[in-house]
Symmetry: D2
Subunit: 304 residues, 4 copies
C-alpha cells in the first residue's frame, strides 16, 4: 500500500519553496490573473480512494486538457473513422504545426495539436445535436458533478485573440478537412477550452482512461482498445514538443493545459491532476511537471 497522501503532501511542501515558479500565461486577461502561488494535487486510485493537497478544489481553465475529453467523446461516436481525418504521430516541433499541416495534405499530425483538436471539434459539431450542451453533459456525467461550467468570458477572449486557430481552421477548410463552417467549429472549440474544473474533478474525469473505459460508477464509455489508443496518444503527444521529455522523466500518459493544469494516469492504478499556473518555456506547468516526476520517483511506479 503506497502512502499517496504523505507523498503528495511532501511534494506540495517542496513545490511551495521553489523560487522560480515559471510564468503565468497572459495572452488573455482571464488567465493572467492566476495567482502564481496556487498549487494543488488530487489523486484518485483504482479503488476510488481520493487524496488531496493544497488548492485541489480551486477551479481553473482546463484549456488543452479538454482535447482528451473531446477525443474520447468523438472516438465513442465515430470509432476508427476518426483516423481517416487525423494522424497519430508526434509533431516534433511546436512552431510548425501549420507547416506540417501543409506538407501532409490537411491531415493534422495528431489530435492534440490545435489543428487536430479543431478537426475533433468539427466531428462533435457534426454528430451532436447541441454540441456545447451535450459535451458539457458528458463532462458532468463523467465527474458526477453538475457544477462544472464553461467560462463565457474566457471563450470570448479566446475568440477575440485566436487568430492562429482561425488560421488553422481555414487551412483545414482549404483541404476539405473541416465539414462545418469555421465560426461554428471554433465557437465550440473556444468553449471546450474554457471549461473550469478543479484537480479533483479532472482526476475523476480521467478515471475512465485508467480503468479500461469505465467510469467510477461502472458505466462504460470506451472499449479497452480505444482506451489503449488514447493513452498511447497522451504519452507520445500530450505535452507539445516536450512529450518525449515527459515520457522520459515521468513515464505516464498525460495532458497539460496552458491554464497550468496537468492530468496523468497509471493504468489500473491511479489518476492524478496537478495545478500550478506558472509555465515553463514549452508551455507546460513548471511545478506540475516536477511534481509528477517526483511522484513517480517516490512511488517507484510508472508504465515502464
Amino acid at each position: 500500500m503506497i502512502a499517496y497522501q504523505s507523498i503528495i503532501d511532501d511534494i506540495a511542501k517542496t513545490s511551495r519553496k521553489v523560487a522560480n515558479k515559471g510564468v503565468v500565461a497572459s495572452y488573455i486577461p482571464e488567465l493572467a490573473v492566476n495567482n502564481i502561488d496556487k498549487f494543488g494535487i488530487h489523486l484518485v486510485d483504482a479503488n476510488n480512494n481520493n487524496y488531496s493537497t493544497g488548492d485541489a478544489l480551486d477551479s481553473f481553465s482546463i484549456q488543452s486538457i479538454s482535447k482528451v475529453l473531446t477525443l474520447a467523446l468523438s472516438f465513442s461516436l465515430v470509432g476508427d473513422d476518426l483516423w481517416k481525418r487525423i494522424d497519430v504521430e508526434p509533431s516534433g516541433d511546436p512552431f510548425n504545426h501549420l507547416s506540417l499541416l501543409e506538407f501532409e495534405n490537411g491531415i493534422p499530425r495528431n489530435p492534440f495539436i490545435n489543428a487536430g483538436a479543431i478537426v475533433i471539434a468539427d466531428i462533435l459539431v457534426s454528430h451532436l445535436k447541441n454540441p456545447k450542451e451535450d459535451f458539457l453533459n458528458f463532462i458532468q456525467e463523467l465527474t458526477n458533478d453538475t457544477t462544472i461550467q464553461y467560462n463565457e468570458k474566457v471563450a470570448l477572449s479566446e475568440k477575440n485573440t485566436g487568430f492562429r486557430n482561425y488560421a488553422a481552421a481555414n487551412l483545414l477548410k482549404s483541404y476539405g478537412n473541416l465539414h462545418n463552417d469555421v465560426d461554428t467549429v471554433l465557437d465550440f472549440y473556444f468553449h471546450q477550452c474554457s471549461l473550469e474544473m478543479n484537480c479533483k474533478q479532472l482526476a475523476n474525469a480521467f478515471f475512465i482512461f485508467m480503468n479500461h473505459g469505465k467510469c467510477q460508477r461502472g458505466k462504460s464509455y470506451l472499449n479497452i482498445n480505444q482506451v489503449k489508443r488514447i493513452n498511447a496518444l497522451m504519452l507520445t503527444c500530450g505535452f507539445y514538443d516536450e512529450a518525449g521529455e515527459f515520457a522520459f522523466e515521468v513515464g505516464l500518459p498525460g495532458k497539460s493545459g496552458v491554464g497550468g493544469g496537468i492530468v496523468a494516469l497509471l493504468p489500473n492504478t491511479y489518476c492524478v491532476a496537478t495545478w500550478s499556473p506558472g509555465l515553463n518555456p514549452k508551455g507546460n506547468s513548471k511545478l506540475g511537471m516536477a511534481a509528477l516526476e517526483e511522484l513517480t520517483t517516490k512511488t517507484k511506479q510508472s508504465i515502464f
Copy 2:
C-alpha cells in the same frame, strides 16, 4: 528598329498550333469558363508605339498581376517603411508560404506571395480613404481608361473559397502584421484580384515600370530607385517558384496571374502583356511563358 509586329504575329501563329495548351484554372467557376484557345499579345514601346496580335483586346481576370500595382501604389504612399513589414527575398517554394511565415515571425518573404500581398492590401486599407475606389482610380489613371472595373462575381467567388487566404491573414494578424480586420483587408484583396483588363491595358499600366516611374502622359508616380526595386522584385519573385526559371529563360522582370495573363518589361524599351488561359503545373500561363521566351530570343534583347 525591331519589327515587333511581325515577331508577335509569328509567335501567335506558332502558339495557336501548340497541342498542349495547359490547363485552365477552375477553382472558381468564373475562371473555368475561359476559352483555352484565347491568345493575345500587346506590346508598347518606349515611344508609345503599340503592337497587338490575337485577342489582345479581350478582358480577363488579372489576379496576381494586381500585386505589382498595389505594391506600386503603397510604395508611393509609405516609401521605404514598407520593408519593415515585408521582406524582399524569393520564397523558394510554393507549398511553404505559410510555413515560411511562421519561421520568420510574421514577415512575409516578399510582396508577391499571397501573405505579402495581403500586408500590402492592409497598408492600402489604412492609407486610402476609399480603398477600392481609390485603387480603381489609380489603375484607370495609369491606363487612361475608365472602362476598367472590378468583377464582383469573381471577388465573391474568391471570398467564398479563399480559405487559404483567410488562413494567411489570420496568421499575419497573430503576429501583429495586419492592422485592419481580416474581413476588410481580404475584401479589398479579393477585389484587386478580380480586376478585369486586356493585354493592351496591362501593357500600358506597366509603362511606369519601364519608364523610370513616369506614365505615358508624363506624370511621375515613383522615383527611379523605387522602380528599380519593383523591377528587381518582379524578376526574383514574380513567378512563384518558377521565378528562377523565368529569369533564366526569358530574362525580363514580369508578373503572372492565374487568369492566364503575364506582363513583362525591358527597361527603357518596351512593356508586353500576353494572355493565354492554360496554365503549366506551376500556375503560370504555359503559352505566355513560351511567347516571352521566343520574344526575347527573336529580338535578342533582355536585361542580361
Copy 3:
C-alpha cells in the same frame, strides 16, 4: 497464467498465410537474400520461461535494433551527460533527420535516428578501450552466448553504400558533436548494425529493459531510472515515423531493424522478438508489427 506458447503458435500460423508479406530490404546484397517466408517469434517471461515458434533460432542482421544496446552501454558509461549531446524528442518525419539536425545546432532529436546513434557510437569509441570487441563482449554477456558475431561482409557493404551516414557524421562533426574522426566512428557503427542474432538471443538481450536493469543471471547493468528512460525512448522513437502508430496499435516499448527484426517488451512481464524480413513502406517488418499487435490484443496486456 497466459498461454504464450499457443498464442504465438497461432500468430505464426496466421502470418504464414498472409499473401502480402512486404518487401525485403535490398540496398545491400547481404540483406536482399533474406527469404521472405522466414518467420519466427521468441518470448521470454519474467520468470525466465522461454517460448519459441517458427524460425526463432535463425540468425539475421539486427541493424537498428543495435541502437538500443549501444544506448544502454553508453548510458551505463557516461550517465546523464549523454543528454547534453542528444535530445529525447520524436523526430516526426523520416526524410528530415538531417534537416532537423541543421535546425537544432547539431543535437540529434533522439538516439534512434541515425544521427543520434552515430553520436552514441562516438561516445563508445571514446570510452571503450577496444570498442568493437568490448561492445561484442557486452552483448555476449547480456545473452550469455558467445556465438554472437559481427558479419564483416555486411559491415563492409554498409560502409560502401552508407553515403547518407557519412553525410550525417560529417554534419555532426561540423557542429562539434562528433569527437572522434568520421571513419573510426562509422566503422564501429557499421559493425554494430551488422551483428547477427536470432529471436531467442534478442529477447534475452532485452531482458534487462523488462527487469529494472538486471539480466537473467541477476547482474545489474542499469538503474531503474535509466531503464525507464530507455523504455520511454523506445516507445516514442523506436519505429521511425511509425512510432506513434506502434504505440497506438501495440502499446509496448520496442525497436525495429531493417533486417526484419523487432524486439518489444512489457515491463515486469515479458520480452518478445519477432523476425520476418518483409518490410512495410515505413521500413518496419510488416508481419512483425501485425504479430505484436495480435499478441497484445490476445493477451489483453499492454503498458496502457
Copy 4:
C-alpha cells in the same frame, strides 16, 4: 561618358571612413589574417578601359566567386545537360541548403549553393583530363594572366575543416548525383575556392559575362543564351539569402565570396570587382555591397 575613375575614388574614400567594416572570416587561419582595412575596386568597361582604386592589385582568396567560373566552363562543356542535375531556383534560406537537397531528391536548388557547386565540380572532374590544371588554364586564359595560382595551404585548410561540404557531397552521392568519388571531387572543389586573384584579374575574368560570351581578346567561350542564363543565376542566387536584397539595392548580376570579394556587371557596359575582407552577418562583404550600391546610384545605371 561616365566618370568612373572619380566615382570609384569617391567610394573608396567614403569606405575608408566607415567605422564598422564587418567581420573578417576566420573559420580557417589563412582567411583570418586578412587586413580589415584593405579596400580595392577595379572596373573595366566594354571598351577595355580600366579604372582602379585602392588595393585593387592585392590578391585574395576568391572562394565562392569561383563557382561562376566553374559554371561557365562546365556549361561550355556539357550544354543544357547541366540542368538535369541542378535546378535554377533561389534557395530562400542559408541554413537549409542540405534540407532542401533532401526534399528535392538530390537536385541542388542552384549552382551557387555549395551542393550545386559540388555537382559542377563533379562534372568538371568527369570531363577534364587534368581537372585542376585545365581549370587553372581556363582562368589564366580568360584573364590573359599566367600568374594566377591556387593557394595550396588554403585548399588544405578547407579540406581539414570542410565537414559540411563532405556532408553535402555524401548526400549527393546517396542520391546518385555525384559520379566521381567524394574525395576527388572535393579536392577539386577546395582548390577552385583557393584561387588567388586581385580585383583587376576578377573584373577581367568576368568580362565574358558582360560581353555576350567573348573575352577581351575576342575569343568566344559561351553563346549569348548561355551568358543570359548565367547572369540571371547571378542575379537571383549570387548572394546567398541576400540575393533579393542585392538585386533590390544594387540591381546588377554578381557574385560574392567569403574572402571579401564581389564581382558584378552591367551587360554591355562594365564589369566591376571590389575587395574588402569584412563581412556582414549574411557572409557578404559589407563595404563591397555598399560600394556597389553607391556605384549604381551615382552612375544611375542598373539592369532595371
